[in-house]
Amino acid sequence: MKKIYDVVVIGAGPAGLSAAIEAKKSGAGDVLIIERNNEPGGILLQCIHNGFGSVIFKKDLPGPAYAWNFIEQARSLNVEMVFDTMVVDITGGRKIYASNSVEGFIELDAKAIVLAMGCRERTRAQIMAPGDRPAGVFTAGMVQRLVNIEGYMPGKNFVILGSGDIGMIMARRLTLEGAKVIKIIELLPYLTGLRRNYVQCLQDFGIPLELSTTIKRITGKKRVEAVETVGVDETLTPIAGTERVIACDSLILSVGLVPENELSRKAGVVLDPLTLGPVVDETMATNVPGIFAAGNVVTIYDLVDYVSMAGATAGISAAKFAAGAPVSPPAFTLTPGDGVRTVMPQKITGLSGPDASVLVELRASREFAGRVSVNILEDENIVYSHVEKYARPAEMITLKINWNETAKKLSNNKSGLKVNIAKI
């Protein structure tokens, strides 16, 4: 390892791999990826189901196959990668501290940094699941790793809390491995994962889904013996009398992902309280000069293809910064309006790329059953509009905007723009 790099990428998941590849292609000399796992690929390595690459490759690939394309490219471009190495600190001055068992404690400098640390799972305490504290309560991602990578079965009879994608995918996977998945329960009155996963993972395997239900208590001194479920009303308050005890030996929590931003915080990167990731502009620049971010560390994505695209943008921007290109300050802010829960990027410079193409990723704040228009507004004035067949919190909406076109419609010289979703 060298002492100084043009671009250092933290995390070798799809976001980090694309960032490194594009940084190299844009002329960065020394590019390093630091990864704490013992191989590249990030979360994709444990996603052995198919469903990856529909946008970029027009193919339905399993996670590792999708990752492989990028790993090969990074290798052939001589991107340097270190594994089993964890970054423990970064500073606003772009010093990086990492630790591994070969070099020991590592200190290096980067002209530009790309944060691509991905996300972590929400846990039992965050959803306040009370009761005993036995073995047999797992998060979905942990079970996915145990089963798909380590090759171990963590139980026989499962109840899954949370209808997110990972939970549904694991319901199918565990069934295929000979376990019994008794049911999936979901607090909200709607499915929180993709409909396609509901059909392929639950319906096809006859696994029941119970909406508006939560865990009242977990019982079992040593290993889970049962969970008690309870129905909830529209305000998510438990309804007395709807309790039911389900005997099982495992409870899987699939209750959401949270961007992993401890390092970002240490470097002084400003986070968005809604996405829980860094506030970025369309070049994926954070507020700290020379620090860029992409992927699940910024906002939780559904489709890996868009993660790779964001990674590529971050890599190009990082290479430019490392080469001394001037920083363009953001000219606009994008904030969620009616019907929208999160928007990324939160800022726009309006200056990037020849076609000034801007990818905006957003999530609805509620279910819209019929056609909707997704609009960007300057006060009441719609400067961009896009039609979707429906909008659900579970499915991210991606807008591909030609900013030159949109900018022409801006009249009031306002810098604060809103994004809303409206029924048509």
Binding site: R36, D84, M86, V88, Y97, S99, N100, S101, V102, E103, G104, F105, E107, R120, E121, T123, R124, A125, Q126, M128, P130, G131, D132, R133, P134, A135, G136, F138, T139, G141, M142, R145, L146, V147, I149, E150, G151, Y152, M153, P154, G155, K156, E177, G178, K216, R217, I218, T219, K221, K222, R223, P238, E262, R265
Partner: protein
């Protein structure tokens, strides 16, 4: 296996383990039997962790005497045994003018108990000491000698020091009855066979009442367990460096907001009935009660930032009753330590020394052992070291460079240390309690698969035999692609 000891201690909580530690200074054989898979798994690791200054117990009780002496002892014992200990002091905070007079009463009780340094401070000053406090605060009682301890770390330190000095521990070994000859106890029966001894120390926490009764003593002593729940917060999201009690009510000390030695904020306990003696399950109602209680002191507390919750069981029902620390008259060879409820942790060193004294005065010959080692050096925690110290340690042992737990930055080297210590960790929870691994915001969802591998390798067992907290709590049960056993 040896079956003959001078002293057998039932229970490896703070009381039993400190008793073993102080007794290990003498030339005797000591055995501690513990029904759980590790030391201190019950009340001693689920409590408020406050080394109370001693203003609270009624004057002229054993509780008052043990608490104030225990507090003094902890201030030197904690550094001697390498226990995380924060000399934070504590506050009782009055909210609204109505609560202010209570502080005066507590202050006076403290003076009667000879507690040093007590002071009532006014609203303006307190606001500068704890900016997050409820703005309706009217004053606070400052007790500078109170401290915060790492409770499990303290039990472990006492146990390790006892073992280094020759004491033995047997885990997953439950006391089931006494063996007696005439008017004297001569041994105990356990789930791992019989052991003979000259003395038995009954320090079985919530079960100490039943055990006293089995010996035909303390027939009137009934423990009605009541549990108290706690919530722990993500240190990044909430930071309070004080120990804040509400004013006490007739129900107890109330829900406190406290710092832990690890830098988290912890709130709790409430006070609710248990379904049975060992019921330490948290309940929704209990958790809500704790949140409500804590918000009285710090209104900005947000349940979104909770990273862990648990409950501890009080050995109560003897409310208003004093600690039992005595050699009963009905039978020889027994020391009863019953009803050691709060401030039991603060009092534990004093209780242990009292046991030594009682044994001596009963004529048991205790000869000081040459070469007794009173000091224990804890294993290193890398994330608490400077970058330079980390680099040095890692150069010596590369396993200190491999980080296994990402939130708390615990390394493989620390896990191996825990598994090779004088009281080795043999379960996932054992490693967790020793290293703090898996106690951060991801609560082990990242590290667990890796730790299972390291444990299997270190113990020379298959992954399927690795447990969370002893037999019956296995984490994985077969390899994939193996035919399920029907």
């Amino acid at each position: 296996m040896r079956t003959n000891y001078d002293v057998i201690i039932i229970g490896s909580g703070i009381v039993g383990s400190l008793t073993a530690r102080y007794l290990s200074a003498y030339d005797i054989n000591i055995l501690v039997v513990e029904k759980e898979s590790d030391v201190g798994m019950n009340t001693s690791s689920a409590n408020s962790a406050i080394i109370h200054s001693g203003y609270d117990p009624a004057p002229n009780t054993l509780k008052a005497a043990m608490n104030s002496l225990g507090n003094r002892l902890w201030h030197t014992l904690a550094p001697e045994l390498g226990i995380a200990f924060k000399e934070s002091g504590s506050y009782v905070v009055a909210i609204g003018a109505g609560e202010l007079p209570v502080l005066r009463g507590l202050y006076e009780r403290g003076i009667a108990n000879s507690i040093p340094g007590l002071k009532i401070i006014n609203k303006a000053e307190f606001l500068t000491r704890e900016p997050l406090i409820n703005p309706d605060v009217s004053g606070a009682l400052w007790a500078p000698t109170a401290a915060v301890i790492d409770p499990f770390g303290a039990v472990l330190a006492a146990a390790e020091n006892a073992v280094v000095n020759g004491a033995e521990y047997l885990f997953e070994t439950e006391f089931t009855g006494f063996i007696s000859g005439g008017d004297k106890i001569t041994g105990i029966k356990t789930t791992r066979g019989d052991f003979s001894c000259k003395w038995v120390v009954n320090s079985a926490g919530i079960h100490s009442g039943e055990i006293a009764k089995k010996a035909g003593t303390r027939k009137d002593f009934i423990i009605t367990p009541r549990k108290g729940s706690y919530l722990v917060f993500d240190p990044v999201k909430l930071s309070i460096n004080n120990v804040l009690f509400p004013v006490p009510t007739d129900k107890g000390k109330g829900t406190l907001v406290s710092t832990t030695t690890h830098g988290n904020v912890m709130i709790g306990p409430n006070n609710e009935p248990c379904e049975n003696m060992d019921d330490s399950a948290t309940t929704r109602a209990g958790v809500e009660e704790v949140l409500k209680g804590a918000k009285k002191l710090v209104p900005s507390i947000d349940q979104k930032n909770v990273i862990a919750m648990y409950a501890g069981i009080r050995a109560s029902g003897n409310a208003g009753r004093d600690f039992v620390i005595d050699i009963p008259v009905e039978i020889k060879g027994l020391v009863n330590l019953c009803g050691i409820e709060s401030p039991g942790f603060a009092s534990a060193p004093a209780i242990a020394l009292k046991v030594v004294e009682l044994l001596k005065s009963a004529g048991f010959e205790l000869k000081e052992k040459p070469g007794w080692i009173p000091v224990r050096k804890p294993a290193p925690h890398l994330h608490t070291l400077s970058l330079k110290e980390r680099a040095e340690l890692t150069a010596k042992n590369p396993a200190y460079g491999r980080i296994v737990c990402r939130c708390e930055e615990i390394t493989e080297g620390e896990i191996i240390d825990a598994m090779r210590s004088p009281v080795p960790a043999r379960t996932y929870d054992g490693i967790k309690r020793r290293t703090w691994l898996g106690t951060g915001r991801c609560q082990g969802s990242f590290d667990m698969p890796r730790v299972i591998q390291i444990m299997a390798r270190e113990m020379g067992i298959p992954e399927t035999e690795v447990t969370k907290k002893g037999g019956g709590s296995e984490i994985v049960f077969r390899k994939t692609k193996e035919v399920p056993a029907r």
